[in-house]
Symmetry: C2
Subunit: 351 residues, 2 copies
DNA sequence: CTGAAAGCGCTTACAG
DNA sequence: CTGAAAGCGCTTACAG
């Protein structure tokens, strides 16, 4: 007995739609409709098909479906790193919204390397993502070109920038740090220092530094280069930087330290405690993020809170609306961080 | 002029392999080979094909490729939540290894709901994941059945259990907490309390509690039901629980508090500070995870460290090895947590 | 080394 | 409401 087909291709071994059709005694078209457009199939046939599918334990092959329908029900997110809970929360929000809507999420981390981000975006595009969310704007133009040329909806998250050419859902980093610095100025501080994470390939940090400068220069002030510490976003670097800043003479030493995030500020506060210094008596300090520990710490850390999960949720919803054709493009959305005034920043003393 | 084909199907509009073939003056088979099996194509033709592809900005359609080759180059990971850095680090490790090997990663979060985990796993299976990593063993049997019946390699991460029917890469939660409890016993403690996260659908927490019981019962001890606090894994719950435990009379009050993780222990330590109590003078306490802040905190927290990124890396490598056919199945691997002895746990006083 | 063509598992315009 | 069949964009056994 010779095999029917000249070209044997093996097959996946998985049960396929055709077998369901045979068992239910209908055409393949009807099986497909029973699942995808149930209204177009009579109730009795629908039942027969679903029973057959269940009995055979059939799961549709997504590649076949995607090829025929040109839909994948896949979305993607590219973030700098999961080692930062800020982005983790964002992904978490996106993931749940996408999942509720039948979408599965690809996750890529660039590790702050734009080329890596582009590589992962390309991989996702090749796999047919129907939408993409990327953190921040520091990406190669090729990334946005690829998205635009294929008409794939996307959104820049975390950063919000009125002047951005991209739809974005997030907050204005510059305005936030201007506001925080203004707060310190209003407390009477005139000598400032900064402890920040690296701004390489990071538009958010650049904007934050600009915000600080905006506020200071409006008051005729600035941060001396040697008083702006930049390094890894760890408790250790925060602690070291604080120690260094405190070696300045009393007359030149900053009374207010603006930190790029809570982790750095917390590190500084821990170093302070070890050296017998105390905020706000001896200095004032601020963070950003409002980590769970920041309000519980002693002294409570003055900082700003952004609902990152919410950013993820909004981003996913916007993308889904565009995919569904409910709106032509993603609507930009500005989130306003909440200022949390606590004990770590107080009135400037003894000038 | 009538269209050539009777059944117009639109097409995706994207440039396809066929156009590359036409431009390079070769067959579609050759284009495919030039990319997937370059050795089988002469250098000159290979160049021509790649130039044509670049000029047309062609990106292969993954659905077509997947359908024909029955490979998707997609892997999946299902974790309880990203709101916990432990799992975030694990995903981070997996993601980078998969990415380096040309795999894109689906991410799903169950939020500690087994049905949700199963739903996401099904979605991933439908989309053709070639391998799956799931945290822990608390999943519906259907999940493992689906994996096994299709021969899709998978691994249980984070938990390691010699008796498990599944390949697993992680640590023995029970042994770890037995070890920690033994340490406290060796310091002379005889009255114990516990502050733990909920153990619903969470085999890790169940094992941890068992580990504590193992050690205590070997010493003829146990934790009274009212001294075992279980609740959300927050600083707040840690703090509240500590306060409650300290309301016991001096004669019955626990001298050692075993916490399910660092967060709970840190919350307790903060509450202690506020009420003027101090470890190890007034009580001893231990955590698990060794968060960045745990070593910097005062007192330093005695805890255990697990390299979660490493677990993710190992899991991904094992899965890739099976996919590549280098080994028949995933090799289980036990990671041993490192005990970090610090100031929060000291000798028992005044009994 | 290269090509013609079958086939992967679905969906959907067309016809009834 | 239902079916026959073309087509989605690739890969790969076969033949040369």
């Amino acid at each position: 007995m010779v095999a029917g087909s000249k070209r044997a291709r093996g097959g996946s071994g998985r049960v396929k739609l055709e077998e369901v059709a045979r068992k239910a005694n209908v055409s393949t078209a009807t099986v497909s409709r029973a699942f995808n457009e149930p209204d177009k199939v009579s109730e009795e046939v629908r039942r027969r098909v679903k029973d057959a599918a269940r009995a055979l334990n059939w799961i549709p092959n997504a590649a076949g479906r995607a090829l025929a329908s040109r839909r994948t029900h896949i979305a993607g997110a590219i973030i700098p790193t999961l080692d930062n809970e800020i982005f983790a929360h964002q992904v978490s929000g996106m993931q749940s919204v996408f999942s509720e809507n039948g979408f599965t999420l690809f996750l890529g981390c660039s590790n702050y390397d734009p080329d890596e981000g582009l590589k992962q975006a390309d991989a996702m595009l090749a796999r047919g993502v129907e939408a993409l969310a990327v953190v921040g704007e520091s990406h190669p133009p090729e990334l946005f070109d690829a998205l635009n040329s294929r008409g794939i909806p996307y959104v820049v998250t975390y950063s919000y920038n009125k002047a951005s050419p991209h739809p974005c859902i997030g907050f204005d980093n510059r305005a936030a740090f201007r506001r925080m610095t203004d707060h310190l100025l209003s407390l009477g501080h005139r000598r400032f220092a900064g402890i920040f994470q690296p701004d390489t390939n990071n538009d958010r940090v650049k904007e934050r530094l600009r915000g600080v400068s905006d506020a200071l220069s409006a008051a005729g002030l600035d941060i001396a280069a040697r008083d702006l510490m930049m390094g890894p976003s760890t408790l250790e670097f925060g602690a070291e930087s604080f120690a260094t800043l405190m070696t300045r003479t009393a007359e030149t030493r900053a009374t207010a330290i603006v930190c790029g995030n809570d982790n750095l500020a917390l590190g500084a506060l821990m170093a302070a405690r070890e050296s017998g210094l105390e905020a706000p008596r001896d200095f004032s300090i601020t963070g950003f993020d409002d980590l769970a520990i920041s309000s519980r710490f002693s002294p409570g850390l003055t900082t700003m809170k952004v609902d990152n999960q919410q950013i993820g949720v909004l981003a996913a919803k916007e993308l889904l609306a565009v995919i569904a054709g409910e709106q032509a493009q993603v609507q930009s959305r500005e989130i306003v961080p909440v200022l949390k005034l606590r004990q770590s920043a107080g009135a400037a003393r003894g000038r």
